[in-house]
Assembly symmetry: C2
Homo-oligomer: 291 residues x 2
């Protein structure tokens, strides 16, 4: 039976329909209209689904965290002002009389990779997304492991070393404060004495700049330690890396791989892949939440 | 149907039979006779099972690692000289015509706690054993998560800080080199200038000794960081602590709990329990491997 996938972002709302083999039937994107409340905003997606005139089994939703998966509720998303505590699963039930399934954007992208992308065929897949922030997903036997507080694979706050204390809401030496695109830009700006973003730092690295080399090497060390700790906890069959920092700089992920091999118990079987589902991972993965 | 549990240790071999409700029917212990090879040694267990004259579904085996679960093989166990690469699952099949299931001792104890002990009723249980070393088990939906290399929950080598480099085979700043009973004894001996074991260090702590306080506080900090990283990866419903260091010093686990609450995203739901299955956890858990 067909399934609907919805990808909620701070700037765009997207919706697509897939048949039971995963073929895309319809897809539409629209701006997230911040002048509307969540119900009116999402009603536009409902209207779109109805206009397609198809039968479907259910609706999967990927949204930015923090979320309460179990109760189908958006909590306090920084990029979705006015959506606080919105009961999104109830909303779709009332509007469509179809069951909806909610999960966070990183988990949904990880699910797409596990079932339709670089993790296909593996029992356990650990997905890292490295972009503005650092997120993750743990997919075991084809399903997202959500955790007691919907916080499994919330790797951003992992304590990987005794590095500088950056954000007061984060742990000292957290992964995200050292290895995200934002952190790479911030740490390089400090060393260079001028403001640069992650893309510039990677370009400088390729030109042989020493400050850029130090910052990227440190980011790779930090990610390698996180990979190692994930191995100690769940020993996944494969790590899949997505997010703009990873996908634009595959050699950076190779560097993380080399460093992680020096830490893990089983270096020869430490398998790294780049994400393959592209820009629609969020939509495809959301549709795969439907049971 | 009845199930057999076998617990293989460096000093003792133990075997028990349980009915389908988990009631113990028979139990026997014997010294591990290091003058015999593994096959002759284990034949004594087979003879014992046969003497009971009962029907049973299969045999679960808990053994010290490293093991290759998938292929039913003991690898290079430091406490079982002469057992290297022994195909223990095949041995029991040939000797009894019953299917055998192999897993490591920490995983088996964790399984007992998850299904019959302190983790009962929870979807996901993370078990830590703190004794001579530090081990773990991750039980999800009533089953052990084994991992790609049979190394899930092999937490001993987690990199928790930039602390001193102790064993060359371990990572710098590893959990086991700072928080095991052995480490507590070693670190305190260094501070005190005389050889003490973990039990003495805990006694000294209770007498207000400052060196003991520092060492135990550091061990608790290190365990708290490991607990936090486990939360970031799998966000378990409950942590269960077993092993002699934990069970003899419940206040030490309370100290770890207090410290971990300061690190995790969801301190109010961070649930700690002490192991409840006692000395037979290895036997009970082994029997629960039988499917």
């Amino acid at each position: 039976m067909n399934r609907i996938g919805i990808d909620i972002g701070g700037t765009q709302l997207r919706v697509a329909a897939y048949d039971e083999k995963g073929n895309e039937l319809f897809k539409q994107a629209m701006p997230n209209d911040h002048s509307l409340g969540p119900a009116e905003n999402l009603q536009r997606l409902v209207d779109c689904i109805e206009s397609w005139g198809i039968d479907y089994e259910g609706i999967g939703i990927g949204a930015p965290g923090p979320l309460d998966f179990a109760n189908g509720r958006i909590l306090t998303p920084p990029n979705l002002p006015g959506w606080e505590n919105f009961e999104i699963v109830s909303f779709f039930w009332n509007a469509t009389k179809h069951k909806a399934y909610l999960n966070n954007d990183a988990n949904v992208a990880g699910l797409a990779e596990a079932l339709r992308g670089a993790g296909w065929g593996h029992t356990s897949v650990f997905y890292f997304t490295v972009s503005t922030g650092v997120g993750g997903a743990y997919i075991y036997r084809g399903e997202i492991v959500g955790g007691a507080n919907s916080c499994a694979a919330e790797v951003f706050n992992m304590v990987v070393n005794e590095f500088e204390d950056v954000r007061p809401t984060m742990n000292k030496g957290s992964l995200e404060d050292q290895a995200s695109g934002t952190a790479i830009g911030r740490l390089a700006s400090k060393k260079l004495g001028r403001t640069v973003d992650a893309a510039e730092v990677f370009a400088l690295y390729e030109q042989g700049d020493e400050a850029a080399r130090q910052v990227i090497d440190h980011a790779a060390d930090t990610l390698a330690k996180a990979v190692h700790d994930v191995c100690c906890v769940v020993d996944p069959d494969v790590f899949v890396f997505g997010g703009s920092v990873a996908l634009h700089n595959p050699w950076f992920i190779d560097l993380v791989h080399e460093k992680a091999k020096k830490l893990v118990l089983n270096p020869t079987t430490l398998r790294f892949e780049l994400a393959r589902c592209g820009g629609d991972a969020g939509l495809v993965g959301a549709s795969l939440l439907v049971k």
